[in-house]
């Protein structure tokens, strides 16, 4: 089976393998990561990875769609020394791969270092060490038929190290050799979807690169229907639509989707969608609260893609009141509703905070209801780095929903995890109750299990954030002192 060398962009390391797997699943092929002692194995933090794929077409698909891939090469050889690499490169089964280019193929040859600059003179020496390949074609630096490349991978600490001009085999971790197959045509999308160049965005808009990664986790493609129930300014809808899917967006606050001009004129989300040529794939937008939603039925979406507001810049809200009204206040409200003043429209109902761990539990139940079998829920979960435990994720799961990827974007004291959950069941479930947790005991009368009792690190995330994640305070029962009356 042919092997391919992948050169990754050195960002979002934990997202690499999930992205490869999602794109492979979307196109119905297998990706196998080649484990090897000297190289990278499946260590996702190193910039190179060797994959086994059934077909060259699959490698090209990965290069067309994976945001984190810089380029893919046909893999010939690797080693901890050049001697090792050359030996491998001359094995009969490898020789067969490059022999076809010997006679009459124009080529260019690159030697480049990762974390280290290789002096030109040394580069030339390396190129000459490949002379046994005996390429007869012309060297063409502009439009070669093939590009051969040699990557030397160094540790971080060699970044600024200088070396003597004549120094040979240096202290690289590993050296790789291969032929360029395809440069990533997906990575430039990061620039295309740049938030700063977008016609409409807000202060909580998701950065382009991450929204594209999210879109790939949904396996977006033509003919699929996706949903963002916390649509906001639509950051994730654009890439998903770009990949061909239809997207529905809802938000409790319509102003987020509309923008400054309010109810008059074209909504901001549609203006941005137009800029990307995907306005027809924004299926519809609607203002409602996910906890009081108008869906007539379930099982219609291929994926939910969303970044729930977790409270650093905007806290999540649901319909209701923070404090129960007195009977007299309720009566006044009722009278007022029956005889609204003319300046009172549109009516804006009261909202109350929606605690993150409750929101996430509800989101998973909701996803199980509205997704088709095998559909995916892709969302960000913020969490406190020191307190996070793997079991935190389990507190939100329910029967028929399974975590298939969990990748951390680390900001230091806190981080956010991109969670991908698959609906593994074909059974139909009822819509979730979105029960109010402040009413004890559980309305549904279900006894709490061990899992229920575990308090995940993302609980009360907002309070923890504003307390600077100090342990003592965060450990206190409900985090916030009671509000003085």
């Amino acid at each position: 089976m042919p092997k391919y060398l992948v050169h990754f962009a050195q960002v979002h390391n934990e997202f690499r393998i999930p992205e490869l797997q999602s794109i492979a699943e979307l196109h119905g092929f297998q990706v196998q990561i080649v484990e090897n002692p000297g190289g990278h194995g499946s260590d996702p933090n190193r910039p190179f990875m060797v994959l086994q794929l059934d077909d060259e077409k699959h490698a090209k698909i990965l290069a067309q769609r994976c945001i984190l891939i810089k380029a893919i090469y046909e893999f010939y050889a690797q080693g901890t020394t050049y001697a090792e690499l050359h030996q491998q490169n001359q094995l009969p089964e490898i020789r067969v791969e490059w022999q076809k280019y010997v006679e009459d193929t124009t080529f260019k040859f690159f030697v480049t270092g990762y974390n280290h600059k290789i002096p030109q003179r040394r580069q030339r020496e390396v190129i000459e060490s490949f002379s046994y390949m005996g390429f007869l074609g012309k060297i063409d630096m502009k439009n070669p038929e093939i590009s051969l490349i040699c990557f030397e991978e160094y540790d971080e600490d060699r970044k600024l190290a200088t070396r003597a001009k004549h120094e040979g085999d240096s202290q690289f971790k590993q050296v790789y050799f291969g032929k360029l197959l395809a440069e990533s045509s997906a990575r430039p999308l990061v620039g295309v979807f740049d938030v700063k160049k977008r016609k409409y965005f807000g202060n909580t808009s998701m950065e382009a690169e991450v929204s594209l990664l999210m879109a790939n986790q949904t396996m977006a493609s033509p003919g699929k229907l996706m949903y963002d129930p916390f649509m906001g300014t639509g950051s994730m809808a654009y890439p998903v639509a770009h990949f061909g899917a239809l997207v529905f967006g809802s938000d409790i606050d319509g102003r987020q989707m509309r923008g400054k001009q309010g109810v008059e004129g074209e909504p901001g989300v549609m203006r941005a969608a137009k800029q990307y040529g995907v306005q027809n794939r924004i299926l519809d937008l609607a203002t409602f609260d996910i906890t009081h939603n108008p869906w007539r039925t379930g099982g219609m979406f291929d994926a939910i893609i969303t970044d729930p507001p977790y409270g650093v810049r905007a806290g999540a809200k649901r319909l209701g009141r923070k404090r129960e009204l007195s009977e007299r206040q309720k009566e006044l409200c009722r009278l007022h509703r029956e005889n609204p003043r003319p300046d009172d429209t549109p009516y804006i109902p009261p909202t109350k905070p929606y605690e993150l761990s409750h929101l996430v539990e509800d989101l998973v139940l909701f996803a199980r209801y509205v997704l088709r079998p095998n559909g995916r829920l892709v969302f960000f979960l913020p969490t406190v780095t020191d307190e996070y435990e793997e079991v935190d994720i389990n507190t939100m799961l329910c029967e028929g929903m399974e975590v298939i990827a969990n990748s951390l974007q680390d900001f230091g004291a806190w981080g956010r995890r991109l969670i991908t959950i698959r609906k593994t069941t074909a059974e139909e479930y009822p819509p979730p109750a979105f029960r109010e947790r402040d009413q004890q005991p559980n309305e549904d009368g279900v006894e709490p299990t061990e899992q229920d009792k575990h308090v995940p690190a993302h609980k009360d995330f907002r309070e923890k954030y504003f307390q600077g994640f100090s342990k003592d305070k965060a450990m206190a029962p409900t985090s916030l002192p009671p509000v003085p009356k």
Binding site: P222, G223, K224, L225, L246, F248, I252, G254, M257, R258, V263, E264, G265, E266, P267, M270, N280, R281, I282, L283, D284, L285, A286, T287, F288, D289, H292, N293, P294, W295, R296, T297, G299, M300, L319, G320, R321, C333, R334, R337, P346, Y347, I348, P349, P350
Partner: protein
């Protein structure tokens, strides 16, 4: 926006409004027709999710009579094209949707329906 595919999936969700709460009835609508990409597989795949009678009635009310009263057993390309047009190309830009049961009115402005419920409608 507010395409008929969406309209076919939305019901009145006022508390205790559970019978005759679908379909919502369009009132004072302004329509726009906008071309959309035709994907026969998507349309075919979505058929089981549709409430056929509600869709046909609504389309007729808005002036499109291309769909048969009964969902046909044989699905041909012309049918899929018509269904595509009804589901995805007719946009209600202004107006409102009214629940035949509780009379709640969901206003639509610039293509976005406001489906937020008032306090007394959720508890």
């Amino acid at each position: 926006m507010v395409r008929l595919i969406t309209h076919n999936l939305l019901a009145c969700h006022v508390k205790n409004c559970t019978v005759n709460n679908f379909p919502l009835e369009f009132k004072n609508v302004q329509l726009e027709i906008r071309e959309a990409e035709f994907n026969p597989d998507f349309i075919r795949g979505f058929l089981p999710k549709l409430e056929w009678k509600a869709l046909v009635d609504t389309a007729r009310q808005l002036g499109d009579t291309s769909l048969p009263t009964e969902q046909p057993e044989m699905i041909d390309d012309e049918f899929l094209q018509n269904l595509h047009h009804v589901l995805l190309e007719i946009h209600v830009e202004e107006g409102s949707m009214i629940c035949n049961n509780c009379k709640h009115e969901y206003p639509i402005s610039s293509g976005i329906p406001n489906m937020l419920l008032a306090e007394h409608e959720i508890a």
